[in-house]
């Protein structure tokens, strides 16, 4: 079985601060990590490999040259091979252009590896952009069926059984290969990289596919030109002031107090 996992290197958003004057992210000194949801996708692939040891796991990322570090992290955890898609013409791509480039990357890697991928795994969204669009768009470009927000999956009788997170109930969905699955946070922790794999990953040479690797790509669909999304403004939402706790002897007392407060402020 052949699995492609799409990953993104993102700033660790738990460490991010906003410059209050310019309203932009302060990226300096913020560590780069593999997007959390992509790690869940990689773990899902690794769990398939645990049961089917002849599985190939390839990771791909589109990003700047230093995104090789994120790919190496994936090699250390579970991936067998990694590709970086990095070219000047790809810069400024929004989710639509990115997913189009990734579709071309999937096909290019299949050509280089000499086999087709049975499944493409993605995180449901990147923690820096939070759009949750690239995975579904990639499925559309590839014309593959898709399941989003998967918790876990298992190969069963030649198809994939995916547990999809729902609002009230989870759904168990059977899906034929080839397909695209995007993953959300499962009920278990992803595995740690082993020391041995980490050392091997540090020494790994990661092939970089640049602009010239895609001679037939439609240049009108990539980069800024191919990106219909425009960010008009970024701003920091106003911080809410400390709340008011309305307490009373009984629920009735506190409810009456609350109604009085809201009434005084002419909210109701």
């Amino acid at each position: 079985m052949n699995i492609l996992v799409c990953i993104k290197q993102v700033p660790d958003t738990t460490e991010i601060r906003i410059d209050p004057e310019t309203n932009t992210l302060i990226r300096e000194g913020v560590p780069a990590i593999v997007n959390t949801f992509d790690v869940f996708a990689l773990e899902a692939a690794a769990r398939i490999k645990d049961k089917n040891p002849d599985t190939n796991i390839v990771v791909v990322s589109m990003g700047p040259p230093n995104a090789v570090n994120a790919l190496k992290e994936c090699l250390a955890i579970a991936a067998d091979k990694a590709y970086l898609i990095s070219g000047r013409k790809f810069g400024g791509s929004d989710t639509l252009a990115t997913s189009y480039i990734l579709k071309n990357a999937v096909q290019k890697i299949e050509e280089l590896e000499g086999y087709k991928f049975d499944v493409v795994f993605c995180g449901k969204q990147a923690i820096d952009g939070d759009t949750a669009q690239v995975g579904p768009e990639l499925a559309e470009h590839l014309d593959y069926p898709q399941v989003t927000c998967a918790l876990e999956c298992e190969v069963n009788n030649g198809r994939l059984e995916v547990l999809k997170e729902g609002e009230d109930v989870n759904l168990l969905i059977g899906i034929k290969f080839p397909c695209v699955i995007t993953f959300t946070k499962p009920g278990f922790d992803p595995r740690y990289a082993s020391i041995k794999r980490k050392m091997a990953a540090n020494r790994a040479e990661i092939p970089v596919l640049g602009d010239d690797a895609f001679p037939d790509i439609d240049t009108a669909m990539i980069g800024l030109k191919g990106s219909p999304t425009r960010v008009k403004k970024t701003f920091v939402p106003q911080r809410m002031k400390g709340g008011l706790i309305v307490d009373g002897e009984t629920v009735k007392d506190s409810s009456l107090k609350l109604v009085q407060i809201l009434s005084d402020k002419k909210v109701i």
Partner: protein
């Protein structure tokens, strides 16, 4: 001279640090209180490869060097001092001595399963009536046909209750006469091997320490390590690396104490100020960090020299003795920063204080190491 860690060493440091933060430190107090062995943590550490850092890749290990081992040791003991015992029983003589003196069959049988965490190990040399003075050893091994028969008692044997095998050094007796020493790989199922009760210790309470009885214990002759009569060679072959790892243990505990004291000093208010604003706190912590850095460098130098093939016992002894002394000095001073709270069990510094003392005792007391150092200086 380059004091910076290389890319592999930095990666190892980071990964063990993250693992320790997430998996070890949160359960350290529970391990200390209950003495329970945490099988799940053992399995996770095995998967990480921590029990095979020094084992060559061909035997399932990571094939890393002693500097790397010290880095991993320092980071993991910051979470819990007990992790020293877990790492050293696997990576120490049970891998090192078998690599140096074992037959190919012994290497294949024992090292991969030790590196993978499937086997747990112990090493038995100390006896109730002798510690550093090995000449007083009373446990004997006699060859009878296709096996050896061991009789005697070993004490202070770390992790003996859990061990699948105990590397045991005995007096080698032939026709009633002492013929030197013999080191045997005593598998847990050898008849006559009896594990005594756990010692109730001051520190490192999360790992067992037992007396082991050999009562006509029968060990197959194929389990002899090296040559009978020259059993002290495998027993002492790994002393340098064990002592260096003691240094890393001491450095790790001391660094944890400093970091805890820094954090506390920035929170604790006295006389309208954070106590970190008082010059006494600043000076104490500056002195502590400087000493710990010196101990760390001494430890890494001994490890780097060993990796270059220089097993000079003096270097390991200096690292072990100095780091142990620094550790106790630093932990005591850091506990003082906490005042009364440092004396309370809820604060990890109290546990570290108890764990630290062993750094001056195990694997050769500070005094024994000073003897080794002074002898190497020609002071007689």
């Amino acid at each position: 001279m380059d004091f910076r860690l290389n890319e592999d060493q930095l990666a190892l440091q980071q990964m063990v640090r993250e693992f320790t933060d997430k998996e070890v430190r949160p359960i350290a107090a529970h391990m200390d209180e209950t003495g329970e062995f945490n099988e799940e943590l053992w399995r996770m550490m095995a998967d990480l490869g921590l029990f095979g850092i020094l084992a060559p890749e061909e035997y399932g290990g990571s094939g890393m060097d002693h500097v790397a081992f010290c880095i991993a040791m320092e980071e993991i003991v910051r979470g819990s001092g007990n992790m020293y015992n877990w790492l050293v029983t696997s990576n120490g003589p049970n891998t090192g001595a078998i690599l140096l003196y074992g037959t190919e069959a012994q290497k294949k049988k024992y090292i991969p399963k030790t590196a993978s965490g499937e086997f747990r190990c112990a090493f038995a040399i100390t006896e109730p009536d002798h510690g550093s003075d090995i000449s007083g050893m009373k446990t004997t091994a006699v060859r009878e046909g296709d096996h050896f028969v061991i009789n005697g008692t070993k004490t202070f044997i770390t992790m003996a209750t859990l061990a699948d095998r105990i590397l045991t050094t005995c007096k080698y007796v032939v026709d009633g006469e002492d013929k030197g020493y013999v080191t045997l790989i005593v598998d847990r199922d050898c008849p006559g091997l009896v594990i005594g009760k756990d010692e109730h210790k001051m520190g490192l309470r999360g790992t067992s320490l037992n007396t082991v009885f050999y009562e006509n214990c029968i060990v197959p002759a194929e389990n002899v390590l090296g040559e009978p009569g020259k059993g002290m060679e495998p027993a002492t072959a790994c002393l340098s690396e064990v002592r260096i790892s003691c240094g890393a243990f001491a450095v790790g505990l001391a660094q944890e104490a400093i970091d805890l004291a820094i954090a506390y000093s920035k929170e604790r208010m006295q006389f309208g100020k954070r106590i970190s604003q008082f010059q006494n706190t600043q000076f104490v912590l500056a002195e502590c960090q400087t000493k710990v850095d010196a101990a760390r460098l001494l430890t890494w130098r001994a490890a780097a020299e060993l990796d270059q093939g220089n097993g000079d016992r003096r270097l390991g002894s200096m690292a072990k003795y100095y780091a142990g002394e620094v550790c106790n000095d630093v932990v005591r001073k850091c506990l003082q920063v906490f005042g009364g709270y440092g004396y309370c069990v809820e604060y990890p510094i109290e546990r570290i204080f108890r764990d630290a003392k062993i750094a001056e005792i195990f694997d050769g007391t500070a005094e024994i190491h000073k003897v080794i150092i002074s002898k190497s200086m020609g002071v007689r």
